[in-house]
């Protein structure tokens, strides 16, 4: 009996102990999980998870990128080659100055928004703006990006001597790249907009858009601002450029440059001048909007001008300092300037004799003659494209006027003046002339000449013309959609104007389309329907299938009117009033103004940040096209027999239709 009792007792004790142990471990597990979750939350707050994908550069079949005037922004020597970021992609030059390779969106790059360069032992690093960070090993790229693009929008790069890669971002401040993660460097600089990163063995400078500069030195971070502090002050809180040597930091702002030594500001240079770039060695020089200045010691209060450039404009031949210098790189025998109009070299800043740095060996003759090549666009920010009846290609730019190319690619004319420069839309009128809608009025042109320029004086209700629409009537009537209503024209004569008082859903008119005997006018407040010269009704989110009131584009495909909205994606409506919302298939997004085109059975829709949506009516299928585009911001289309021209905010690309 006794033994049994003891056994029972022991068993009971063991049970209790087991239970306690189980409870303990459960508690510990829960606590660990909570701790881990909390730690992860903290980590997530101070770091960004990154994904990656490999890009093997090879040209996409069926794509052709239009060339444009070169605008070089940054450059770096990597494995005996000069790599240059530009509006045309990443350019690679050999030591002799020959362009040996050009990496573009057609080769697989995520776009042409290339913001920074750095190199480490194993790779060349390229900031790709909102697309993330590219690592180039010499044969292929690897793209690192965040789930939420704004968490890893790369604006600056700095490869530290330790091998660390510092990444400046637009919204997350300074982070340290760690392959699958980018970790916040220090909370004080977290959530800042980093504009400049420079550094070396002894110190580094982090410049920001509106919070001045931090200097990292001997393990400490000091903040230098515009307002006077103990260590001195900068000339402005916006840092445009920086340079760093072991002893000295130079911080450039829109109002001059400041020299900082041993943690204190020492003097200012070039006060009142906008500093575009600073090169610290072999001797410190700064590129300003008034020319290149040396930041010399003997006269600390004034910068000695070395070379003053002409007013910004087209660059001439050698002997004149180039305008729009974005970066100065020292060469063994001089300097290389990366400018808004290409690459230039000089053997002496004092001598101020510059030569164009030859970009392609095959273009040597073009370079010396100064003549642009075929199809060379004046700018990459394309806002409108159209073919005229002679198959000349018209390309309108956001703020650089327009180009007209003949079918062979020869530039017929470049229109740009103080009226015709902000182009919104192009339309071929019944008489073959081109109606060019601009922010300053309506231009009527033929291939080479401006024939009329219509503003309020000529009856336009407002000079900011968004687009025009041919009403297809015998009397040649057409309408102009403006920022303050709609104007109707017969020929070049304004006849009537429509306004909110007359029933327009809003005075802000963005687009118009015609289906049957009705004209649909897309506005900020919905769609107004015009029939027999009168506004009969208005559609908005409250009384129709519209998902957003802001209507940016419309196009007719078959018997349906397709409507592109800002934020609501795409809907369509038929004559019988049947609405269809395509959100389930393609989601909600922003359609760009008048970025819609119809070609037979296909609808092309340009979006703000997700490339092109293509709808095939026969297959009732949507397709998303993102690859190969120089920018995901697709602004315009022009359709030829076998190809589609796609205008974006960073270039023009031609895509063969069989690609779709």
């Amino acid at each position: 009996m006794l033994v049994r009792s003891k056994l029972l007792f022991t068993f009971a004790v063991l049970l209790v102990l087991l239970g306690a142990a189980a409870a303990f471990f459960r508690l510990k597990r829960d606590a660990d999980r909570t701790l881990t979750a909390a730690r992860q939350t903290v980590i997530d707050r101070h770091s960004v998870s990154l994904k990656s994908r490999t890009i093997i550069p090879q040209g996409k079949t069926g794509y052709r990128l239009f060339p444009a005037a070169l605008r070089a922004t940054d450059g770096i020597w990597f494995r005996d080659h000069l790599f240059v970021t530009s509006n045309l992609g990443l350019l690679q030059f050999d030591a002799a100055g020959r362009e040996v390779k050009r990496y573009t969106s057609v080769d697989g790059l995520p776009g042409h928004e290339l913001t920074a360069l750095a190199k480490t032992a194993e790779a060349l690093w390229v900031g790709a703006g909102s697309q993330g960070l590219l690592k180039f090993t010499g044969t292929q790229f690897e793209l690192f990006y965040a789930e939420n693009a704004s968490d890893f929008e790369v604006t600056a790069l700095l490869a530290m001597p330790s091998g660390e890669l510092w990444v400046g971002t637009k919204q997350r401040g300074l982070v340290v790249f760690q392959n699958d993660r980018a970790v916040e460097f220090v909370p004080a600089i977290g959530s800042r907009f980093v504009t400049a990163l420079e550094g070396g063995h002894q110190q580094a400078v982090i410049g920001t858009f509106d919070e001045s500069a931090w200097i990292y030195r001997q393990g400490l971070v000091s903040h230098f601002k515009k307002d006077s502090g103990e260590q001195g002050s900068l000339l402005d809180n916006q840092v445009t450029s920086a340079a760093c040597s072991d002893e000295t930091v130079y911080v450039g702002t829109p109002l001059g440059a400041t020299e900082i030594r041993n943690g204190r500001t020492v003097r200012n240079f070039a006060e009142g001048l906008a500093i575009r770039a600073i090169a610290p060695a072999p001797r410190p020089v700064a590129v300003t909007d008034q020319g290149i200045v040396t930041l010399s010691a003997p006269q600390p209060s004034s910068a000695r001008a070395l070379a003053s450039g002409p007013n910004p404009g087209r660059f001439g031949q050698s002997g004149v300092a180039p305008a729009g210098i974005n970066r100065l790189l020292p060469l063994s025998d001089g300097w290389l300037a990366l400018t808004d109009s290409g690459l230039y070299t000089t053997d002496s800043l004092e001598r101020n004799a510059w030569e164009r740095f030859v970009s392609r060996s095959s273009d040597r003759s073009l370079a010396s003659s100064g003549r642009a090549g075929l199809w060379e666009l004046s700018d990459i920010n394309v806002s409108a494209i159209a073919f005229d009846p002679d198959q000349n290609l018209w390309v309108g730019y956001f703020d650089r006027g327009l180009d007209v190319f003949d079918p062979g690619g020869r530039l017929l004319v470049h229109h740009e003046d103080d009226r015709l420069f902000c182009v919104n839309h192009l339309l071929v009128l019944g008489d073959g002339q081109m109606a060019v809608s601009t922010a300053n009025g309506l231009a009527i042109c033929d291939a080479t000449r401006l024939r009329h320029f219509i503003t309020e004086k000529e009856g336009l209700i407002h000079k900011a013309v968004v687009m025009t629409l041919d009403l297809g009537e015998d009397d040649g009537r057409w309408l102009a959609a403006t920022a303050e209503g709609v104007s109707f024209f017969e020929g070049n004569r304004a006849t009537q104007n429509l306004f909110a008082l007359h029933g327009l859903a809003s005075n802000r008119v963005y687009c118009a389309s015609k289906l049957g005997n009705r004209v649909y006018i897309g506005t900020l407040g919905g769609i107004s329907v015009l029939q027999d010269g009168r506004l009969t009704s208005s559609w908005n989110t409250a009384n129709s299938g519209l998902a957003a009131n802001w209507v940016n584009a419309m196009a007719v495909l078959g018997r349906r009117l397709f409507i592109g909205t800002y934020g609501g994606g795409i809907q369509s409506v038929e004559a019988d009033g049947q609405w269809t919302d395509y959100a389930e298939a393609i989601g909600r997004f922003e359609v760009n103004p008048n970025a819609m085109a119809v070609d037979g059975e296909r609808l092309y829709v340009g979006t703000l940040d997700r490339g092109i949506h293509v709808y095939d009516e026969r297959q009732n299928r949507w397709q998303l096209l993102r690859d190969g585009l120089p920018s995901q911001n697709v602004t315009a289309f022009a359709l030829a027999a076998d190809r589609v021209l796609v205008g974006t905010s960073r270039g023009l690309v031609e895509i063969r239709k069989d690609v779709f």
């Binding site: 704004s150 907009f193 858009f209 509106d210 307002d227 916006q238 445009t240 829109p254 109002l255 009142g272 001048l273 906008a274 909007d289 910004p312 920010n381 394309v382 806002s383 409108a384 956001f398 103080d418 009226r419 420069f421 902000c422 919104n424 922010a439 300053n440 309020e456 009856g459 209700i461 900011a464 920022a483 209503g485 109707f488 304004a494 006849t495 009537q496 104007n497 306004f499 008082l501 007359h502 029933g503 859903a505 809003s506 005075n507 802000r508 963005y510 900020l524 407040g525 409250a542 009131n549 802001w550 800002y566 922003e590 760009n592 103004p593 703000l608 940040d609 911001n633 602004t635 905010s649």
Partner: protein, 797 residues
């Protein structure tokens, strides 16, 4: 436009904003485009109002306190009634008071330019300039205030005067405190002192808002002194009051004459900072103001006669946007006020004239609704052929027997086709309407919005014995519009005349303001007299339907009278107006311009030839931002060679100079992450010698029309009931209108107690039973419009 956000029109210019600025707002910079009490709060505000025989003099003193550790700048905004005359503005810089001065316009601009080159931005108030969008600089004052010391205060003073009208024996005064553009301000301490006095008995004095309840300190039959004092006062409504003059017809004469050194010759008090006149200076002439109040029971009792109207409505391009809406409002008001026995014809005109119907129609609700639809169905087009429109009206105007004929012109009076000269047009109209029995047609003209050709409209109205009314952009139109409409069917008194015995002792006597005088209103004359005299007879004679009216007063002309300080300035204003009209009709001449400049300097008047140069103000004024156009436009002086814009999202862009428009322009793309709100961009300007200036400009992202929540007090009504609508909408809503079937629209106004906007529509007795849709329209300052419908039922008695 290829933009992620097509929302902004950032037009930064020297033009007055389209928005309605609040009264005495100081916006801190950098970093703000609206008042921010966490940075700059209104610590103290004192408003002193003296209404002396219908002449209001307002002095405003504001003290702003900085809560920042750095030196601030600020932009001071004040919206003035276009009829008001600013008389002083000063900024205190520590113990130093910096007053404004009146200078010749060119000289003012030269000094202004020079000060700006020194990076001191002076304030400049100028009159009546046409802006890009049809706006005008008149009635808006802004000044950049700098420096505002850290944790310090800034004291600002402003003074203006205005003449209050008397209509139907009632006068209305308001001081703008209600927010129109920005959110509500609060004053740490607010004091309002009011002195109201009149030679005639005052009655029925009341405030229109309960926000600032006055304490009556003293009240007699002819004077009221009151004050309001409060702490932490939310400025959510205007300070406004009405009063009546209960008196039979009366003629009163007031005087001003001073030989004392302590008064400037202009009649303005000398401050410690102005040098008094010499004691042996030649004595100035004396000034008088005669005021005749007409209140005859015969006129008041006269029955309204049926009338026939021809309504000319301007549909040219120059009256687009706000002007068109105000014009339409006036047309609605007129049509809805017509009686069933009235008739009307509607004529729309621009470069052509279009009749609503071949002949006039009875003013039934159906015809009124059809006429309004006719207007809405028309298009704005082309220019303005005013002569053709008037001729068409004359050709088609055949009032039926027994009906009084009237023409009403609703236009900005800016002809661009046909006869365009004011003088020629006025003369033509006068001769075209002349008959032996008097003008064939009485034309009443209503102009709305700045940029109106008031001279022409007034001339057309006066030549035919009609009346003219003008409502500026910053005014509440209701009072004037109601009076205009009320007077359409009443004959004014015939042109009142003033005669004075011993007339050679008097000079430069003017009736001011000119225009028809109705029963239960008043007419004023101002003039000068040379010598004091005893027993001078003043006589005012006029005629009305019931017979002649004659008012007499015998007075002694004093050698000294200093009680009514407003009289000399009123006289100077009348003299300047006379000279300006002369210039308009006959062309400029050196003598007239010289006298205008001289009077303006002496009496601190802003005219087309003089400017008020005040404390520093911004080089670039903001204006109301409209969505839909990402264009930045900046106007600078000719010395600026480059302008660069730095946007808050990181973009730096140079602006391009447009020589044809003399403006700098660029376009920009803003990221879609920028939510609705106010933003700043920096502008770096560089002049020809390389000096850099920095400015800040604001733009608004406003992609949404106001969200509306609306409700009615019940769902079913009976004829004769009032439908009360309660509306809540976004804080940037500037206007809420209610429409129900063909009834006159109503406005919903903010009710602070109910924290909503309340509007009421009275259902007429004859409304048919049934279901109706009540529409609520809300418009924000960016002119986004949204609407909501409410279903209501009208059931039988």
């Amino acid at each position: 436009m290829r933009t992620p956000l097509l929302l902004f029109l950032c037009i930064c210019s020297l033009l007055a904003p389209q928005a309605w600025g609040d009264a005495g707002v100081l916006i801190p910079s950098p970093g703000n485009d609206k008042p921010d009490p966490t940075k700059l709060s209104l610590a103290d505000m004192h408003v002193s109002i003296v209404i002396d025989n219908q002449n209001a003099s307002v002095s405003l003193r504001q003290i702003f306190a900085s809560h920042m550790s750095s030196v601030l700048e600020g932009q001071y905004l004040f919206a003035i009634n276009p009829e008001a005359l600013i008389s002083d503005f000063a900024v205190w810089d520590g113990p130093v008071r910096i007053p404004g001065v009146i200078l010749e316009r060119k000289r003012a601009e030269e000094i202004y330019d020079a000060l700006r080159l020194q990076a001191i931005d002076p304030g400049l108030l100028q009159q009546a300039e046409q802006g890009e969008e049809g706006g005008s600089r008149v009635s808006f004052f802004s000044a950049r205030i700098t420096p505002i010391p850290p944790y310090g205060t800034k004291r600002l003073e402003l003074a203006y005067s205005e003449r209050l009208r008397l209509e139907q024996l009632q006068s209305y005064f308001y001081f703008p405190l209600k927010p129109r553009q920005f959110q509500e301000q609060a004053a740490g301490r607010l004091r309002v002192d009011l002195t109201l006095r009149h030679v005639l008995p005052l009655s029925n004095f009341k405030q229109t808002s309960a926000q600032y309840p006055l304490t009556i300190d003293r009240q007699t039959t002819t004077e009221i002194r009151a004050h309001y004092e409060g702490s932490n006062v939310t400025l959510s409504d205007d300070f406004a009051l009405t009063y009546e003059l209960k008196s039979p017809s009366n003629l009163s004469v007031l005087f001003y004459r001073s030989k004392e050194d302590r008064y400037l010759k202009s009649g303005l008090p000398v401050t410690a900072f102005e040098r008094p006149g010499r004691s042996d200076a030649e004595t100035e002439a004396g000034y008088f103001e005669a005021s005749a109040l007409f209140n005859t029971t015969a006129s008041a009792a006269a029955k309204r006669r049926p009338s026939e109207f021809v309504l000319l409505f301007d549909t040219s391009l120059s009256v687009r946007w706000d002007k068109l809406e105000r014009q339409f409002e006036a047309l609605e008001k007129i049509l809805y006020q017509l009686h069933a026995e009235d008739r009307f014809q509607l004529l729309l005109f621009n470069s052509k004239a279009t009749l609503f119907r071949p002949t006039s129609v009875p003013a039934t609700p159906e015809n009124v609704a059809a006429a309004l639809d006719f207007v809405k169905g028309s298009f704005l087009a082309g220019g303005t052929d005013l002569k053709q429109a008037l001729q068409t009206a004359l050709d088609n105007f055949q009032p039926q027997p027994g009906l009084t004929g009237r023409a009403v012109l609703i236009s900005d009076g800016n002809p661009t086709f046909g006869t365009v000269e004011t003088q020629k047009l006025a003369r033509w109209f006068s001769s075209a309407t002349a008959t032996p029995a008097g003008p064939k047609i009485k034309l009443c003209a209503y102009g709305a919005g700045n940029g109106c050709n008031k001279v022409l409209l007034r001339a057309l109205a006066q030549s035919s014995g009609g009346l003219f009314e003008f409502v500026g952009e910053t005014e509440a139109a209701e009072f004037k519009l109601n009076n205009f409409v009320a007077h359409l069917t009443i004959d004014p008194l015939s042109d009142p005349q003033l005669t004075i015995s011993n007339y050679p002792n008097f000079s430069e006597v003017y009736r001011t303001p000119e225009g028809p005088v109705f029963n239960q209103s008043s007419a004023q004359w101002v003039g000068k007299y040379r010598q004091p005299l005893r027993s001078v007879n003043f006589t005012v004679a006029a005629r009305q339907l019931a017979g002649p009216i004659e008012l007499k007063r015998t007075v002694d002309l004093p050698s000294e009278a200093v009680e009514h300080l407003f009289i000399p300035r009123n006289w100077a204003k009348a003299r300047v107006d006379f000279l300006l009209r002369k210039i308009e009709m006959e062309g400029e001449d050196a003598a007239s311009i010289g006298e205008i400049v001289s009077l303006s300097k002496k009496y601190k008047l802003v005219t087309p030839y003089t400017s008020f140069l005040a404390a520093p103000r911004s080089l670039l004024r903001p204006r109301l931002i409209k969505p839909g156009d990402p264009v930045l436009r900046v106007r600078t002086d000719p010395d600026i060679r480059t302008v660069t814009a730095i946007f808050p999202f990181g973009l730096t862009k140079p602006l391009r100079y447009l020589p044809r428009e003399q403006v700098w322009q660029t376009r920009f793309l803003a990221p879609k992450e920028m939510v609705d709100g106010l933003y700043y961009c920096r502008l770096i300007l560089r002049d020809r010698v390389g000096r850099a200036f920095e400015e800040r400009k604001s733009f608004v992202i406003d992609s949404r029309a106001p969200a509306i929540q609306a409700s009615v007090d019940r769902s079913a009504y009976r004829p004769g009931d009032t439908v009360e609508v309660r509306v809540k909408s976004d804080s940037d809503t500037r206007r809420i209108r209610l429409r129900l079937a063909s009834l006159e629209p109503a406005e919903a106004r903010w009710d602070a107690g109910g924290k909503a906007s309340i509007g009421r529509i009275a259902l007429p007795m004859e409304i048919a039973t049934g279901e109706y849709a009540l529409e609520v329209f809300a418009e924000d300052f960016a002119h986004n419009v949204s609407s909501r419908k409410l279903a209501i039922a009208v059931v039988g008695q």
